[in-house]
Symmetry: D2
């Protein structure tokens, strides 16, 4: 592994889990929760998979590449949905999910 290290990817997954969970909580509290129901669903998916990836990278799992590929897919799906909503927490989610997806894909190239 050269450019992208686990350290950078662990940090990206932590930021992403945090932003997805914050967006989840904000969506739950909003009057427009009906419009945000797909965000809720994908925020949870993405946050949970980021958590799995963090554990896997810190214990040097033999499945880090596959798990990071899965996180990148979940980040893409979450970003695509959040893109549809103007809320600040959704837009922040788009930005951080895309960054996380990109860094996770860096792991795959480097692996």
């Amino acid at each position: 592994m050269t450019v992208t290290t686990y350290k950078e990817c662990i940090d990206a997954c932590i930021r992403c889990m945090n932003v997805c969970n914050v967006s989840y909580v904000s969506s739950l509290k909003g009057l427009d929760i009906f419009e945000l129901r797909e965000c809720l669903r994908l925020d949870r998916e993405c946050a949970d998979l980021c958590g799995v990836a963090i554990q896997a990278m810190t214990r040097n799992s033999p499945f880090v590449a596959e798990i990071c590929e899965l996180v990148a897919k979940a980040c893409d799906a979450c970003a695509e949905e959040c893109m549809k909503h103007p809320h600040e927490h959704c837009q922040e989610c788009v930005r951080v999910c895309r960054e996380c997806a990109s860094i996770c894909r860096g792991i795959l190239v480097a692996a």
Copy 2:
């Protein structure tokens, strides 16, 4: 441990995780999601903690008692909230959460 074994408690936590997640998915899809937002929140809490408990019991964790106590609290909170809603998936959640809470507390007595 005499009356309540881990086996029974593991099964109860599996049923509870399953019912909470099914209720979560049903709540997400409903037109009345706004009324069910607190169910959504507690369904996720309860399902996640049941998952933690199942892992802990199958590996004979030294923290089984504390984790089962926590699951019982989450089950109580989830059942109390779901009680307020007539939906079949909410009422099923009440029934299974209460059963799970009771069995988890059996672990505590037996420990």
Copy 3:
């Protein structure tokens, strides 16, 4: 989905998590832990990923196929390692991991 349902796969993952964690605990207690260190490592990987899959299936995650593919890989790796050891808990692990891998791959075909 026709032949293999989530119900069957959830049950297979629960059995697999249980057997991997039981083998983990047995390996930890043995005098020959040095010989079993790779079993320990893969038992944990496999049990944790089974837990992720169970949660994902019960909440009808959009990533069930990818997660089940990953569980199948972890089961293969765990079974291959446990094959090398005559212990009853290792042989039971081989049997249940292979069954779980097969059922997880059924999900992929059916998806």
Copy 4:
């Protein structure tokens, strides 16, 4: 909450999960794994519970206090065991687990 914020506690749990998993991997690889088997067991417990706490704090779970209390107990147990071993990774584990336990207990006082 005044002095100890979730932010500080989330960071402490991330450091602790990381150090416990690094110590786990190092213990698995050592020739003296037999002497470190109880470290292995508690490293996994502690890392997994830290992961639960991070998820819980980032989604503002109603069970943060109970989960942080549990993490503090796991940290204490892990630190006590690692104290017995001169390995650098064990000593680092002692230091970070104690810090994490202390910060988790700060959450309890502030809650």
